[in-house]
Each structure stands twice: as structure tokens, then as C-alpha cells.
Subunit: 224 residues, 2 copies
DNA sequence: CGACCATTTGATATGGATCAAGCGATGTGG
DNA sequence: CCACATCGCTTGATCCATATCAAATGGTCG
């Protein structure tokens, strides 16, 4: 069972193993897992907590972040449906994680999966592959900090378009404040950047969360 | 044998396997490796090149980075003696790497180590562990971007002090320009930040590369 | 010794932060 | 069902930290 903190926010009863489109955890279909729902802004785990579970986003979205003394948060990554996160090799988390919006996560016991990986080289390989994928993602995130504000936002939209496998319209799962926290900018600057990209005919802001990509390649060029 | 590009810069003949303090690669002492020396600024590999080797720094230091269209480089990580880098799960590199100063690297064939990991669960585990360690490092790097210049530099010094296992004097392996590229600042701002930290009695800049940490905890506090 | 390059310091410019106000969507209570 | 409170987003005005431009200093190597 999950720790108290996880259950604290539960709004639907845990169900036994992968329902519908949750999919197996890391392909380890023989391992039991269960789903928990988290309301918006619910904490999933905190920095330096014991890492008891690995997580897979079934739906909704999750942010991981570091909190600074000043209270400011640097968001390290967003996780969307299909993503696995919280893959700690050591016992404790080095980031905090919480739900951006109402989200369902598939949890699996870390100890069980690590034990499985000891015997099943396929499972071991998947652990490595997933961790490496997250590493690449964070490396790409760092690249954005070499760019000015508008270009960072362009890069962010490109990333989201790819990860949400959007056609030409992206449904952003997070608020401006979260985008700002991810890009190291303020809400105001993010908002102005959207406006600027709109004036460049690169996007149309249909609603604040729904962005029409009118010129995807312009966005790629800007953020390159 | 390494690709032409690697040999291009070789200044000492490759030797068979771990000499002196090079240590085994990932503990896989049964695997052959060889050492190559790279002069300052020599390219080790480029973005999108085939990843034929994994690397361990024997001595010297290495930077990995992404180059932007503008020509600007965002340094993603520094690697110092003992660090392993270039652990790609897929066939190609997603970063460029080059030697910061004259450096000796232990190379091992990716295919050989991956094949070993298929059978030796200990090797597989080490691959995962090392990749996860690099992930944590990059996550910590991102955290710095939430801080103002002086605090970023403080955080950088703390990181270097830890990784170079320094007592109270750090010998920085890289120039100001590289620090700037790592922190998303300009050389001038980095230089001024050193001066400011000196005025705060946190450090003494003995030479530009040799930093005396007069108040380590002040540095930690600043960057927290 | 002298040239070169890295670093530091100084003066000014500017992109993004901050402060402040308005706007629009959403939900709530009368 | 509408009036109004709330919250997230946008826009505007001003400020400031860092970039840029420029020059002086200092260390290194031929």
C-alpha cells in the first residue's frame, strides 16, 4: 500500500492492476500495481522522502521540482500520460513531485521491480532505458536556458507538441505559472512571449491552454 | 579501435587496459578498454554521431554541451576524474563532448559492455546506477537557473568542491568562459560574482583557477 | 622581454523582473 | 438566473540585474 501521504488525496478507490489504457508497468506485466488519483496540486512525494514506488502517468500530468530557500520552485520536468518517473536508484527522492491537474498514476513497488530486474534482464534494460530517456529530456531542458525568453517558450511548445503527440493544436496541461517555473521566467514574460509568437504568426492562442501551431517550423527555428 | 576523430588528437600511444589509477570500467574488469589522451579543446564526439564508446575520465576534465544555431554553447555537464559519461542507450550521442584541458580517457566499446550487461546483472545494474547518477547531477544543475548570478556561482563552487573532493581549496579545471557557459551567464558576470563572493569573505581567489573556500557554509547557504 | 590571451574592472544599454491595473472566464450565493 | 467575487491571464509602466562594449591588468609562453 502507498504511504499515507499518497492515500491522503485519493479520490477514487485503488484498483488492482492496469485497467484500460494504463498499460503494463515497464512491460513487467507480472508485477502488481495499482492506480491512485490525485487532485490538482496534490503532493505525490517530497524531496528526501523514501522512494517506495515508481510511477507511471495514466492520465493527467505531473511536475517534479526543487524548492529553494527563497520559496521559489524550479520545475525540473513535466510528465504526461505514458511517462514513467520517480525511478530512483537510491532509497530517496531528490525532487518533489505533484499533480498539475487531476491525475491518475500507476504505482508499483520499487523493491519489487528492482528485485525483478535482478533476474529479468529485460526489466533491467527497461529501467536503464527509461532513466536514460529522462536524462536526455533534462539535458534538452537545460539547452533552453541558453535562449532568450521568447525562444524558450517556442522551445517549450515544440517539446510539448512532440510529447503530447499533438497534430497542430496543443492542449497544454499546465498553467502559465508552471511554464514560467519550468523556463526560469515570470508569468508575465511567458504571457508576453505567447503574444509575441502570435504576432510572428507562429501560433494562435485559442484559449490560454489551447495553442494552435500555425508555423511549427518557425517555432523549431526560433528555439534551435 | 576508436574512430578517426578520436585518434586525430591522440598525443600518447593507446595502451592496453587500465593502467595505474584508471580503475576498471564500471567494474567490468574482464572487458578490454584503452586509454586515449586528448589535448585541450579536442573534440571527443559530436552531437548525433554514432555512439561507439563509453568513456571514463582518468585525468583532466571534459565538458558536454549543446550548440545552438546562434553559435552559443550551453554546457550541460563537466566530467572529472572518476566520472563516466557518454552512456547512450540508443545508437547516437545527443550532446557534443570535448576536453576542457589535456585529458586521458578510458574508452570501452559500447557494444561490448551492452552485451555484457545482457548477461551480467551486476554490469546492468551499474549502467543504470551511473545513468541515474548523471540524471541527478543534471537535475541539480537545472536548479541553479532559478538563482541570481552570484548564487549560481556559489552553487557551482559547492558542486565542484564536492566532486573534486577538495579540502578547502578547489582547483578549477576550467576557464571562466566555461563556467559562464555552464551557468548561462557571461564571463564578465562570472568574474564579478567571484569578486563579490570574495568581498563577502566566502572565498579567496588565490589564482583564477585556485579558489580558497573561506566559508563553505556561506556558499551552501547562498545557493540553497 | 614582449605578444597574447584570460581575467578583471568600468561604463552603458537592455531584456526581463517587478509593480500595478485591467480583462475575461469560472463558479457561487442571493 | 444574474450579480459579483475570484482567479488566471494579459497588458502597461518602471526598475534593475545582467549583457554588452570598452579598456586596463596580469599571467603565460615563445
Amino acid at each position: 500500500m502507498p504511504r499515507a501521504g499518497a492515500l491522503r488525496h485519493q479520490t477514487t478507490p485503488p484498483r488492482a492492476v492496469p485497467p484500460t489504457h494504463a498499460g503494463p508497468f515497464l512491460g513487467a506485466s507480472e508485477l502488481m500495481g495499482f492506480i491512485i488519483s490525485y487532485p490538482p496540486d496534490a503532493e505525490i512525494y517530497g524531496e528526501e522522502e523514501q522512494a517506495e514506488y515508481f510511477y507511471k502517468v495514466v492520465n493527467g500530468s505531473v511536475r517534479t521540482y526543487k524548492t529553494l530557500k527563497s520559496g521559489r520552485r524550479q520545475i525540473v520536468a513535466f510528465h504526461v500520460p505514458g511517462d514513467v518517473f520517480g525511478l530512483e536508484t537510491r532509497g530517496e527522492h531528490t525532487l518533489s513531485a505533484d499533480a498539475v491537474a487531476e491525475s491518475s498514476l500507476l504505482l508499483i513497488k520499487r523493491s519489487a521491480l528492482v528485485a525483478l530486474a535482478e533476474q529479468d534482464k529485460d526489466a533491467a534494460g527497461r529501467l536503464w532505458t527509461l532513466t536514460a530517456a529522462e536524462l536526455r529530456q533534462v539535458q534538452d531542458h537545460i539547452r533552453l536556458f541558453a535562449l532568450p525568453a521568447r525562444e524558450r517558450v517556442a522551445g517549450f511548445l515544440v517539446e510539448m507538441a512532440q510529447r503530447l503527440s499533438a497534430n497542430d493544436e496543443v492542449e497544454l496541461p499546465m498553467a502559465r505559472q508552471d511554464i514560467a517555473g519550468y523556463l526560469g521566467l515570470t508569468v508575465e514574460t511567458v504571457s508576453r512571449s505567447f503574444t509575441q509568437l502570435e504576432r510572428l504568426d507562429a501560433i494562435t492562442v485559442r484559449t490560454s491552454r489551447r495553442i494552435l501551431l500555425r508555423n511549427y517550423f518557425a517555432l523549431v527555428r526560433l528555439s534551435a
